[in-house]
């Protein structure tokens, strides 16, 4: 680091940090909202509310009535995938967030498992 630019004051850093956290938080809420929408549509929608209508059809190639299949198989598979997508997308968000923090914060901890919450 050169001495040309004055070191940012603690207040500046705090404000910038707050801004970054806000951005991260809204990205998080958006992802969560989409995933919970799918959660409700598949689990409560196809599995319960529409089960009687879907039961008129069969899952292609099998003997499963569709509504029954959603209630006893399809919803569970969807739930597993939802958490997988969440973990992957969210951890990517975490990485972006880390890089942004590093850019404004000279003393941010090194990347790796240790930065993220080993506070205790």
């Amino acid at each position: 680091m050169t001495n040309d630019t004055p070191a940012p004051s603690p207040e500046d850093i705090h404000r910038a940090e707050g801004k970054i956290l806000k951005k991260y938080w809204f990205a998080n809420l958006r992802l969560m909202g989409i995933l919970l929408l799918v959660w409700a549509a598949v689990g409560l929608g196809c599995g319960v509310l529409l089960a009687d209508i879907l039961n008129q059809y069969k899952l292609p190639g099998t003997g499963y009535p569709l509504g029954f299949w959603f209630a006893q198989q399809g919803s569970i598979v969807t739930f597993v995938l939802l958490i997988l997508v969440y973990a992957i997308r969210m951890n990517r968000l975490d990485r972006i967030h880390h890089d942004e923090r590093e850019a404004i914060h000279p003393t941010v901890e090194p990347k790796g498992e240790s930065y993220s919450g080993e506070g205790i």
Partner: protein
């Protein structure tokens, strides 16, 4: 070798394995004791969470429930797995970042209130004890059938094992033991399911087998099952909303189970044992992934068992009765009272001849059988028809607990498979019991003793209180197992309803809405618990008429009231919150820190203790 010798062998080997792991991972401090020193990899933690969560109810009872309920059994599948989505998305990473030991810790610190903490502790204790009681009954069922020992002896053996590895290893020992238990229970569930699937449908995967055609026939198993069910007066197996629940009730029960799952303290505490919010997310994925292994197989086992039950049993005579029927008859979980024609009939109508003993004692059953024989011999002139008495008591049909345990026998699988299922059932019951005992121990030793009664207690003293609490809790749980109170099954609904109406809203609001302060949160929680508790107690124990809430003509089932309790909690808190000042800057900062994925966690004073 007989089933019994194989069972002794498998149970002995697996118990030795659990104890060995407990010795290898023994701990000396509270951090290792409660949160396993935070050194558990995400996949292993997921596996342990799966074993912790899949109780005797999941392993033994769930497939049986689905088997008798058909489509409606899906509420348990969707409810218990869908809750993990809520838990992973809304709670786990943040609670991990918060970095304390227990759920009441979060409630107490976020709302800065000792009162809120104490309510949370009491809810955690109630939920955990309800659950432990159910596990001990599972242990009793398995021991009494497969080891042919007295239920009391069986429960005592189970308690000693749990006590040793829970006190020795704490959370660390329990976590690694549960990893082993996961493998035992999932193998024990999958092997017979695959064998039966091949036998019935010629398909290796049971999940595909349930949707396939029967061997040698061009009709699918499910449509044949639908036909048989209809013929015998049961509703079609795959048809929704034909049983005791209409659409609204199915929806409410599913939602209550989902939200209740997310609020269960022994599942939440699992996410405290990983390294970071990042691994908490992975842990959630792995947990549901491993749980899905059993939950996707259970409906298949349920369908297969239902088919065997209805197709093979109906029309058999005394001489042709399969061996499994006789060995289970002695446990009282399935009983046959013939109408005199010598042919067995299992149906939904008045000619049904299959019953279960329920809570009737051996003496009562013997009298019933004697009078029934008299009734047959005298062609109805003397004695009493046991069938009318039992169906009036609501004891028609076999006990659902035998479905999983007897299916391998129904399909005439090898003795070692049957014995392995017994070891799996024990693994499921013991892993959940040990996790719950640890929550009870941490609630008492950490939340009550250390945080409320004696904040200056030393590390050793707290560890001692923790271990002593486990000892007391084991004895209480053991008593529940030996003398199962009749209301255990009914209060389990209470545990979910309570978790849904109390913990879930208060934690979610605590993380996602900074403005919520102590008073609205506590009032909301009390309203939610109050309504849920009042409704369940009045309907279940005092026979109150079910409320319809203008939604369902048949009234809301007590199992689904948690949904309404949760909504009430959210609405009351959200309505009151704007009228009260926001929490002070310290709490607001704490919420920011919980949301921020990196940097320090809020300080934990336990670390500042002189022992560290």
């Amino acid at each position: 070798m007989t089933v019994q010798i194989w069972t002794y062998l498998f149970v002995g080997l697996t118990f030795a394995l659990y104890l060995g792991i407990a010795w290898w991972s023994r701990v000396r401090d509270t951090k290792g004791f409660y949160v396993a020193g935070r050194g558990v990899p995400a996949a292993a933690n997921g596996m342990a969470t799966a074993a912790d969560w899949m109780s005797a109810a999941s392993f033994i009872s769930m497939a049986g429930l689905i088997s008798t309920m058909g489509y409606a059994g899906g509420v348990y599948l969707m409810g218990w797995t869908g809750g993990f989505v809520l838990l992973s998305l809304l709670l786990a990473p943040y609670l991990r970042k918060f970095g304390h030991y227990t759920v009441p810790d979060f409630v107490g610190d976020r709302y800065d209130s000792r009162f809120a903490r104490i309510i949370a502790v009491l809810c955690a204790l109630f939920i955990s004890f309800t659950y432990v009681a159910g596990q001990m009954r599972g242990v009793g069922v398995v021991f009494s059938r497969f080891l042919e020992v007295d239920v009391t002896v069986g429960v005592v053996i189970g308690m000693v094992i749990v006590f040793i590895y829970a006190t020795l290893g704490g959370m660390k020992g329990i976590t690694w033991t549960q990893v082993a238990q996961y493998w035992v229970l999932i193998t024990a569930f999958l092997v017979p399911a695959i064998a039966i699937s091949i036998k019935l449908t010629g398909t290796v995967m049971p999940q595909a087998g349930l949707g396939s055609d029967l061997v040698g026939e061009s009709v699918s198993l499910l449509s044949k099952l639908d036909g048989i069910q209809k013929e015998l007066g049961f509703g079609p197996y795959t048809e929704p909303f034909v049983g005791k629940w209409d659409k609204v009730n199915v929806l409410f029960v599913t939602l209550a189970l989902m939200v209740g799952t997310a609020g269960l303290p022994h599942v939440i505490v699992r996410f405290y044992t990983v390294k970071s919010p990042r691994s908490a997310r992975w842990s959630g994925f792995w947990a549901l992934f491993f749980i899905a292994g059993l939950y996707l197989t259970a409906p298949a086992v349920a369908g297969f068992a239902r088919y065997y039950m209805l197709d093979n049993l109906n029309g058999t005579t005394e001489e042709n009765l399969p061996g499994w029927f006789k060995s289970w008859e002695s446990t009282g979980l399935i009983l046959w009272y013939d109408d005199g024609d010598g042919q067995l009939r299992y149906s939904a109508g008045e000619d049904n001849e299959i019953f279960r003993a329920g809570t009737l004692s051996g003496v009562e059953l013997a009298a019933l059988a004697r009078n029934h024989q008299l009734w047959i011999d005298s062609a109805g002139a003397d004695g009493t028809d046991a069938r009318t008495i039992l169906s009036a008591k609501g004891l028609s049909g076999p006990d659902r607990d035998i479905i999983v345990l007897a299916t391998p026998e129904m399909a005439e699988l090898s003795n070692w498979i049957i014995a392995f299922v017994a070891a799996g059932g024990l693994a499921a019951a013991l892993s959940t019991a040990s996790g719950l005992l640890l929550v009870i121990s941490s609630s008492v030793a950490h939340d009550l003793y250390y945080k409320v009664l004696d904040p200056r207690a030393s590390e050793q003293k707290r560890l001692l209180v923790g271990r002593a609490t486990i000892g007391v809790a084991v004895i209480v749980a053991g008593l529940f197992g030996i003398y199962p109170p009749a209301f255990v099954g009914q209060v389990v609904a209470f545990a979910f309803g309570l978790a849904a109406a109390s913990f879930f809203p208060i934690i979610v609001l605590g993380i996602f809405w900074k403005w919520v302060s102590m008073i609205p949160a506590v009032i909301g929680m009390l309203c939610g618990i109050g309504l849920t508790g009042y409704y369940i107690v009045s309907v279940v124990f005092f026979g109150m008429e079910k409320w319809t809430f203008g939604l369902s003509a048949q009234g809301i089932d007590p199992q689904g009231i948690g949904t309404i309790g949760m909504i009430v909690n959210f609405v009351v808190t959200a309505t009151l919150a704007p009228f009260f000042p926001a929490p002070d800057a310290r709490i607001q900062d704490l919420v920011d820190k919980v949301r921020e994925p990196e940097g320090w966690s809020p300080a934990v004073d336990i670390e500042a203790g002189p022992e560290h």
